[in-house]
Symmetry: C2
Subunit: 379 residues, 2 copies
Amino acid sequence: MRIGNTRLPCFSSPQVMSAALPPESRRVTIRDVAARAGVSQPTASLVLGRHPTARVAAATRERVLAAAEALGYRPNVVARSLARGRSFALGVVVPDLRNPFVLDVIAGAERVASSAGYAVLLCDQSARPVSAHLETLRARQIDGLLLDAVGAATLPEDALHGVKVVLIDEPSDQWPGVSTDAQTAGKLAAEHLLELGHREMAFIGPSSNVHAFRMRERGFVQTLRTAGVAVRSDRWRRAPATVRGGQQSMRALLALQPRPTAVFCANDLVAIGAVKQCLTQGVSLPTDVSVVGCDDIEMARFITPELTTIAVPARELGARAARLLLSLIEHVNTPVESHVVASRRALSRQLPVRLIARGSSFAAPASPASDIASGRLRT
Amino acid sequence: MRIGNTRLPCFSSPQVMSAALPPESRRVTIRDVAARAGVSQPTASLVLGRHPTARVAAATRERVLAAAEALGYRPNVVARSLARGRSFALGVVVPDLRNPFVLDVIAGAERVASSAGYAVLLCDQSARPVSAHLETLRARQIDGLLLDAVGAATLPEDALHGVKVVLIDEPSDQWPGVSTDAQTAGKLAAEHLLELGHREMAFIGPSSNVHAFRMRERGFVQTLRTAGVAVRSDRWRRAPATVRGGQQSMRALLALQPRPTAVFCANDLVAIGAVKQCLTQGVSLPTDVSVVGCDDIEMARFITPELTTIAVPARELGARAARLLLSLIEHVNTPVESHVVASRRALSRQLPVRLIARGSSFAAPASPASDIASGRLRT
DNA sequence: TTGTAAGCGTTATCAG
DNA sequence: CTGATAACGCTTACAA
């Protein structure tokens, strides 16, 4: 590549003397534009860079723009990054790409970021440890970092030094963040099941330190306690927040005597696993057991029975997080410091959740659940 | 940030004269390392850069490494990129992030890329047009591009100029690529259903120009024809490759007289929609209708009945594509040109697929399907 | 309003 | 084997 005639006079097309079309092998640089417009290179930079309305004569500006257009000039972001000390790139670290919920978070963030001219470097915690990702990201001089439920508190002090950080679904007094109203999610699930007459409640969720999961659980528990419903520890199952985790936990729950009639799952994947396990064992939903999930991932509507769940605005969550991060990055050291604080306050309010009642929840069976405890006879 | 004392003599700590720990506000550069090691900056670069075994005296090397270690030096990838004319970043353009299959492709590619020190810039076609993504990617000087089923043939000629490209599931004589054995996928589905005794066959798939989808369909059709089974156009439904598309098409198929007894879907999302639609209308699977999908996404095992499908090694697909792309990038203009060709040939062989028989397919009903045509009476 | 000069942190090409 | 010196493409004082 880039062989030979980079700066040589253009023998092959003698009629064009000054600033001919650059040789095809080279990319058009701002110098080419400046030359063609007959201005100095920095002037071209002034016109083409940020500061669209900079101190440049209108006529000059026109010539530069025309030249850029004619040459098909595209700025080199790498060079710009080096010069400005900013990379216009954001890191996004997520717990697990397999979870459709985080995918929506990413999609929301990506849209905001890319429409603001920022690239998104995606990092999957399940593929490499966070510390390794952070290393890479810093080497690339990212301007900001979105951390989704990674347990930022456990990160080494200096791993985040000099980088703007926004946490998703994880409160901290060290970094700003955006969260969903996880506790209300648990509360809504509890209220829904209580209204359906359930008293034999169970829960399946991870034992992780992910804040949202803990709050969902807490909201559920508190609402049950307030209603005077017992929370029995053998009905509280710990499992990874995956379909398989849900299956295994549900199997354990179905073996209990008396059997719980309603199960709240920390997220939809778990709930899908729980539903699946019931059907596998011939326990019919929602007549024998009700299952409520959380997130409202797309697949929730496509399993049978359709999953009752708490809708969480994943896309919006990602989008807000990205917006907050961008404002943090761009408003640094500007006179409007207070504006940052204000917008941060507005942005960081918890996002609302809502119950979506579908087919996996139903009125509690009138007779004690234990009567039909073991349904293994059906297929 | 970076205020003041960047290059000034260090008034505040007079005791340390040469190469003190850099002021906390500044990142450690290779110059700091060189200074501390008492060598010139380019020498430090030689030791710290690539060419781990470059012509540098062992003692010197040690000193440099020690200094780097002590200072916690981390190379600045942006600067390196500018100097080397390479960004160590790959673009990955995918049709739709919502499809779990492409997610696996991405995961495979990301793992390979990141372990080779390359970043991955993810681009979702469904969020922005490909051309816009390409613009951004080129501005960032990406070294290579992975295009997953984007219809590369329709892209403007120069949009890809100077970038190494590898196509995923899309043959081309302009660019190398990696594909799955899509035609065999269709064939396996057909053979499976034929063996189960089905003759009333239907198909649901997108009308897109995505090669893999077309080949799956072709393999299916050809196998049916070879077996002497009629392919009726009213049983060939065009729909987006989504769950919703599958639902709508299945509704149309269920309205036909006589009703098809078996449906092959272009991917699992479509198949999940088809299954869902059957259950919604009270048509029971797999006794009344058999459904076969393609991809074997995780969710295929979690719907009821579990989905019979053709497993396609998505992760491996992404991983191979990434490996091929990296070898293209790194073996440019090296004496081992032939090695590239060889590896390309090996890598680009089609990836094998296999049938996973699960619960959504079953022996064809003995009586003509029309006997039980309209099952709307149940639930 | 514009051009000149100095850098951003690396890598690469040379002399010594 | 090593150290100046010049790129890489762009931004940003500062001077004209």
